[in-house]
């Protein structure tokens, strides 16, 4: 687990390099979601490049599709994609590596980008497994600002209605969206109470950037029977460097060269401390 913690910071560095190369990206949410993605891909999920089409695989849906650069970094480290190729061609003319999930790429199940799509799709995936009496688990990561889309609440209803205990929704609760605080833009709190009222098992993770806490929550989710689980992971937008932490302006800011150097320095320091 210690190495995986350090890996999260290497993945953050890879993510920043992808963003710098393409001169675009959603850096704030990329940084907040990293431990969630890493734990899913390297500890929890039954997925691998050799079995990308295995009918028994677990399914991952990136509903907050704009955190694609972090997802690229994870898919590369997991062996689905090549980091050098992604970094060089990200967002470039004619590139397959666009700014949102694109399921012509290995390892990506569904396209997203437009928000509020992942949860209903995941309900369908989980329902299919139940209908076929199969053991696939389905994981969907949503943003928090994204939850203003009503389609999510349709998905919360149907996930509970069909008692999909093979479904786990992880909310990257970084409390910021492009215009500012989620609570100022369209208030979500008490979010846990809301999701619980929809008949979901709700697990609140105090520090969603702590891999141990995320992993423990995902283990608890697996043990829950008869209802789907929603993990509300309290994270820090821009996690990894004070230059970008907790600032709405860094939703999709591309670092200047000076900022880049400071961010990489901070990420290196964090990585070394964990190595």
């Amino acid at each position: 687990m210690e190495n995986l913690k350090a890996l999260c910071y290497q993945l953050r560095k890879d993510t920043v390099d992808i963003i710098m190369s393409g001169a675009t990206g959603h850096i704030g949410g990329d940084m907040s979601v990293m431990e969630i993605l890493a734990d899913l891909y390297f500890k929890q999920m039954n997925v691998s490049p050799d079995k990308a089409d295995d009918p028994d695989r677990d399914y991952f849906i990136m509903s907050k599709g704009h955190s694609m650069e972090a997802y690229y970094a994870v898919l590369c480290a997991a062996g689905f994609l090549d980091l050098q190729d992604v970094t060089e061609r990200y967002s470039k003319f004619g590139s397959p590596y666009i700014g949102h999930p694109h399921n012509e790429l290995k390892g990506i199940e569904m396209n997203s980008g437009s928000l509020g799509h992942g949860l209903p799709v995941s309900v369908g995936l989980a329902l299919a497994a139940k209908m076929s009496k199969k053991a696939n688990r389905v994981y969907v990561v949503t943003g928090d600002g994204e939850l203003a889309e009503g389609s999510n609440w349709e998905g919360f209803m149907s996930g509970a209605m069909y008692r999909l205990d093979n479904l786990c929704c992880i909310i990257d609760r970084n409390r910021l969206q492009i215009s500012g605080s989620t609570e100022d833009v369209m208030a979500l709190d008490d979010l846990a109470a809301k999701v619980k009222a929809f008949n979901w098992n709700v697990i609140c993770v105090e520090d969603g950037n702590d891999l141990d806490q995320i992993d423990a929550a995902l283990e608890q989710a697996k043990a829950c029977k008869g209802m789907p689980t929603c993990i509300i992971a309290n994270t820090i937008k821009g996690k990894g460097s004070p230059v970008m932490e907790n600032q709405a302006g860094w939703h999709h800011h591309v670092p200047t060269q000076e900022e880049y150097e400071q961010i990489m320095k901070d990420l290196n320091t964090a990585k070394e401390a964990l190595s």
Binding site: P55, Y59, N103, E109, M110, N111, S112, G113, S114, G116, H117, L119, P120, V121, S122, V123, G124, L125, A126, L127, A128, A129, M131, S132, N136, G150, S151, E154, G155, M157, S158, M161
Partner: protein
Amino acid sequence: MGNKIANRQVICEVLTEHAKEDKEIVVLCSDSRGSASLAPFFKEFPEQSVEVGIAEQDLVGIAAGLAKAGKKAFAASPASFITTRSYEQCKVDCAYSDTNVKLIGISGGVSYGALGMSHHSAQDISAMSSIPGMRVYLPSDRHQTRKLMESLLQDEKCAYIRTGRNAVEDVYSEEDCPFEMDRATVVREGKDAVIIACGEMVKPAKDAASLLEAEGIIACVLDMYCVKPLDQEAIIRAAQGAKVVVTVEEHSPFGGLGSMVAQVVSANCPKKVVGIALPDAPVITGTSKEVFEYYGMNAEGIAETVRKSLRS
């Protein structure tokens, strides 16, 4: 004459027949199993049925998830809702993500009559056709609906199928229903004018041609059930020798069959194309039949448009 079976009912029949053998078929409804004539399917195959409640975005998203996991998903809901209420799910989750979802729009066009514009789908052809990867079909009668559904069960791509609410008179018969996937059906040959229609407008188009024949005007009638992919060859072949092309559709005058036919004709064999469609306004209150008569979308109205177009 005398047919009492609506096209939507045939869809249920075909799915029920196949679901006995094919356990991957899943039918989804949004509190619409009655409207969609799918209640018998839900009753016979509860384990292959999914109710999502009045939530069309969830309906299409769930259908896409089921399809991604290998199911053959058939999502049925009123045409006005499944297309425009869940348009983004149709675009992103079905077409863009390339999932095997068949979107069944029932009670399309002005089928809901006096319920008003909220329930009319006069935008669905235009909206769905402009999504890359989405196919759009409007079968004309029960026999063609059956053949279309049999064909769609064999492929793994998404499609939108629009049917009306009411029983429609037969265009074809059980013994004589020529059908080739994605090819228009030539209902009758003719050189003076070409009438190209889709869905429930094919029958009045055929009847219009009979009226015109009695006056010595021989019109070709094309059943363009495959609005997308449009059978361009059939249009060009029919239009080349004709003096005028008339299109008939239960849809807005913009972006539907008429617009598409006009594009093909103007690029390949330029001549007059006249579109018969619903107005760009809320339609007058009435049953489908009354509405069609009022806007000249019945046999006599279509015949009159052909006559006028040939004169001017």
